[in-house]
């Protein structure tokens, strides 16, 4: 049995499930809306709604989106619910720990990474990262700097509104709350890299031709989309990225890099639950099948 934590509208999960169906390998998809329970019966039993699965029958786990959790706000009382929550967290951590003992993609712990720690570790692994600093006041520099959210989110929703926090190139001095300033790196192309258990699939994104997407390619130009084609990383860069992923205890992730006009590889960030469909489809890598094969074996 393969256990998959995911969401109803995740097309990548659906594509992987298609291959598992072809192979005739049983799998169960757990959604965030499911009600989960755990008991020690039969050396560990999971209940997903009415469905019962023994831990010993699970041979692979894919933490695509989410992890084992117990929903509880039984008392509608802050203190009582807090007590219950603290109690449940112990159970959740234990079950997730057990689930991570088998072959897995992603992990319960690795759903989020700290950008500042990632950058420090990237430097320690020998990767080039753009100069950056956390400051309140920004003084006009000789070099161009950009400001972006330290959590990596470019937008969030509030009620019926979407608040977009663009990546901005700075020309003046500014004062603000503590902000993440990063030296602007000229790019020949961007790289989006999918990493899975020591293997790399890379895509080059040619965005420089298009002024609309120069700082952040996620601002799509639908008329003339950026060119996305397969790319091979130099082995020295792969070794440094492997070092980073291992030091972060990540077995999978989506990595962003820049290749500068002088062909230097610059590391930007890693997302442990990044979309791989956006690398797989344009490059015809068929990562959905790679994942299904990994989970099946």
């Amino acid at each position: 049995m393969i256990l998959i934590f995911s969401e109803v509208n995740d097309l990548s999960t659906l594509a992987v499930a298609g291959y598992l169906d072809d192979y005739g390998v049983p799998y169960t998809v757990v959604l965030k809306t499911d009600t989960l329970r755990y008991t020690d019966a039969d050396k560990g039993t999971l209940y997903i709604g009415e469905n019962k699965i023994c831990l010993k029958d699970i041979h692979a786990v894919w933490f695509r989106r989410g992890k084992f959790f117990i929903r509880s706000n039984a008392f509608k009382d802050r203190e009582l619910d807090l007590y219950l929550y603290e109690n449940n967290v112990i159970i959740e951590d234990y079950v997730n720990y057990k689930l991570e003992q088998v072959k897995s993609i992603g992990s319960a712990a690795g759903l989020h990474v700290n950008k500042l720690i990632v950058l420090e570790k990237a430097k320690a692994c020998g990767l080039t990262v753009p100069d950056y600093c956390l400051e309140h006041d920004f003084q006009q520099q000789d070099a161009t700097y950009i400001v972006k959210g330290v959590n990596g989110n470019t937008h969030f929703n509030s009620d019926q509104l979407r608040i977009i926090l663009p990546v901005v190139k700075l020309n003046d001095s500014h004062s603000s709350g503590l902000s993440f300033f990063q030296r602007y790196t000229e790019k020949k192309y961007e790289l989006r890299i999918f990493y899975l258990h020591g293997r790399f699939w890379s895509m080059a994104i040619f965005s420089q031709n298009d002024p609309q997407t120069t700082t952040d390619f996620r601002k799509y130009n639908k008329e003339r989309p950026n060119r996305n084609i397969p790319y091979t990383l130099p082995t020295a860069i792969e070794a440094k990225l492997t070092c980073l992923m291992e030091s972060l205890s990540l077995n999978t992730g989506s990595i962003d890099m820049i290749v500068t006009p002088s062909l230097e590889h610059v590391f930007l960030e890693v997302n442990p639950v990044g979309q791989f469909g956006m690398v797989s489809l344009p490059c015809n890598y068929n990562l959905e099948k790679e994942i299904a094969d990994f989970l099946k074996s």
Partner: protein, 369 residues
């Protein structure tokens, strides 16, 4: 040294007289002269731009510069500063992949079959067929169509296209009623209509609606090859490069319930009354044409459009048979000549009259005139 790389998601399809760049990412194809293909091939084999100019000599300098400017301006390629950079861009795999034993099905729905459609759909869903065409050679009222579409509830079929006869009640209310419920309906064609018109789906009606004056009374109408049916996209082109572009992962059920690769083909692999679709699929002959690509077909193999066009094995020119007994003749209903790059009406060609008689298409051809 400077090198030039064609973006690897642009595939050059070389024809005998001219060629095509199939831009899989931007979903469009453009004709190019074969001289340019020779230059692209040279550059792709890691010849530097400087060496290329040297090879072609001063008299071709201007032409090559124009070609390179054409490729960069249209974003078909880019310059690399070194061989090392050039080699970091591997060719894109042209493998075709995708799960499911069947991806598409065409069913001629008799009145008998309409009653048992549920069990057929259940089988198709089990084979993980996602796209379906239902041919009704009769007018269907709103209740009939709705009860057909209700049977898709809970399946993973993501597209149903319906062909049915036009009748008086078909109008705005009819379509609105059909749209009232969420179904996988993506297009409906009313033939025998008093007018020709296509209304693409919009925010009010979630499927394409097409009216045609043609009278579609059998599947003999299928198999047309024309530029209107050309498609440039990843799955379409990659499938055509590796498999038969029409018959791969297709299943057909004809009006008598015979299970075939396509309803217009001759060989039946059982009848739905006694044979399961999965059993028919296991028959050694069922998939015989699945691996036959346009590169194996006479004339088509010389055609620049071969990967964006969709083949037909039901109606062919009946001129070529390969050693395995497969029909490798050009589709009968294609009027394109890749040697002259001209389109002509296929049905008047003197060499096709025998095939037209063989398939019993005389009446259909007459009506089209």
């Amino acid at each position: 040294m400077t090198y030039f790389k064609l973006f690897t998601n642009c595939i050059v399809s070389k024809g005998i007289a001219r060629s095509l760049i199939c831009d899989l990412q931007r979903q469009s194809s453009t004709l190019i002269p074969n001289d340019l293909v020779a230059i692209i091939t040279e550059l792709d084999s890691a010849t530097s731009v400087e060496d290329l100019f040297r090879q072609y000599g001063a008299e071709n300098r201007e032409t090559i510069s124009e070609y390179l400017a054409y490729l960069t301006e249209n974003e078909y390629g880019f310059y690399c500063e070194s061989l090392e950079e050039f080699n970091r861009f591997p060719p894109m795999s042209t493998a075709f992949s995708g799960s499911g034993k069947i991806t598409n099905a065409v069913i001629e729905v008799s009145e008998d079959m309409e009653r048992n459609l549920g069990t057929i759909l259940e089988q198709l869903n089990g084979l993980r067929c996602t796209s379906l065409v239902l041919m009704f050679y009769r007018p269907m009222d709103i209740d009939g169509l709705q009860s057909v579409l209700e049977r898709f509830d809970g399946t993973e079929i993501s597209s149903v296209e319906i062909v049915t006869a036009y009748h008086e009640a078909v109008g705005a209310d009819f379509l609105k009623n059909l749209n009232a419920r969420l179904t996988p309906l993506t297009s409906i064609l009313f033939y025998n209509a008093p007018f020709d018109r296509t209304d693409p789906w919009d925010r009010n009606i979630y499927f394409d609606v097409r009216f045609s004056r043609s009278n579609i009374h059998s599947f003999k109408h299928c198999g047309i090859v024309s530029a209107a049916y050309f498609d440039t996209n990843f799955p379409k082109v990659l499938e055509a490069m590796n498999h038969n572009s029409c018959l791969h992962k297709k299943i057909g059920i004809d009006i008598h319930g015979n299970i075939k690769n396509c309803p217009a083909m001759e060989t039946s692999f059982g009848n739905i009354r006694e044979t399961k679709l999965a059993e028919a699929l296991e028959h050694p002959g069922f998939k015989q044409y699945w691996g036959l690509t346009k590169d194996d077909i006479a004339v088509c193999r010389d055609c620049e459009y071969r990967y964006i066009c969709t083949d037909c094995r039901a109606y062919t020119g009946r001129t070529h048979i390969d050693t395995g007994g497969l029909d490798t003749s050009k589709p009968l209903k294609c009027g394109y000549d890749p040697y002259t790059n001209e389109w002509a009406e296929w049905s008047v060609h003197p060499l096709r009259q025998e095939a037209i008689r063989y398939y019993g298409l005389e009446e259909l051809v007459r009506n089209n005139e």
